[in-house]
């Protein structure tokens, strides 16, 4: 039977190394055939914000292509691709109230809107729940 890991994350994109670590954990779990639930709340709802754009670096004199600036929305999209490839489930909920506060409702394909009751349900159903706090 496929096991399930639930994670809650709240750090916004481009602020701390925590976002990278969380995505590494999700990536590793999916590769191990583990279903992953992600409850993104507070600033983390912007991880999947569709309007993110890579940029050049005028200080270094590099173009967009040369800079290869990774966006978190593309990293998350890659996680959804990986889940499909591995035939496991990645379920990603963006906290609705947190989204509305930030006007961050335009997100990539994959995540869905939800709230704390969804997290409560996941906690009850999952094999493990990990809460990654912010500083």
């Amino acid at each position: 039977m496929t096991r399930t890991l639930t994670m809650s994350i709240m750090d916004p994109p481009y602020e701390t190394a925590t976002s990278t670590t969380a995505m590494r954990v999700i990536d590793a779990a999916l590769r191990k055939g583990i279903n992953v639930n992600v409850f993104a709340y507070e600033g983390a709802v912007s991880l999947t914000f569709k309007d993110q754009k890579p940029h050049p670096n005028p200080v270094h004199g590099t173009t967009v292509e040369e800079e290869k600036h990774p966006t978190t929305k593309d990293l998350v999209a890659g996680l959804f691709d990986l889940a499909r490839e591995k035939a496991v489930k990645l379920d990603w909920i963006n906290c609705g109230m947190c989204v509305d506060e930030r006007g961050a409702g335009n997100w990539i394909e994959g995540p869905r809107r939800g709230g704390p009751p969804d997290l409560h349900k996941w906690v009850q159903e999952s094999d493990q729940t990990v809460v990654i706090p912010t500083k």
Binding site: R3, V25, K32
Partner: protein, 110 residues
């Protein structure tokens, strides 16, 4: 009795909480619990041989399995040979294995 996975992400030389977290790991192990302390991000700075004492050695002595994320070490230019004895190099997948192990360990992330 239970299994614990403690994940420390903060630099013990910046966050006063981190050494307390290491001590918590040691205290749990001293009570007979199976404890894994996984260091990631700036927390891996604690495992350098030359680092000022920060409770990591005490945690190891008390039976805590200490693992340091190799990716975080590489990012910070810390060579594997620079880590103190008793610290195991680990990948992020090892953390997933620890968290999803049989018996459902309690996971604390700091």
């Amino acid at each position: 009795m239970g299994d614990y996975v403690l994940v420390e992400s903060r630099d013990p030389f910046e966050s006063g909480d981190a050494p307390y977290f290491f001590k918590l790991a040691g205290d749990l192990a001293a009570r007979g619990e199976k404890v894994t302390l996984f260091l990631v991000q700036n927390a891996v700075l604690a495992v350098r041989k030359g680092a000022k004492e920060n409770s990591i050695a005490a945690a190891i002595d008390r039976g805590v399995e200490v693992m340091a994320d190799s990716f975080s070490l590489r990012e910070r230019g810390v060579l594997a040979t620079e880590r103190r004895a008793g610290v195991r190099l680990a990948e992020i997948g090892d953390l997933v294995d620890q968290m999803m192990a049989d018996g459902v360990p309690k996971v604390l992330w700091h």
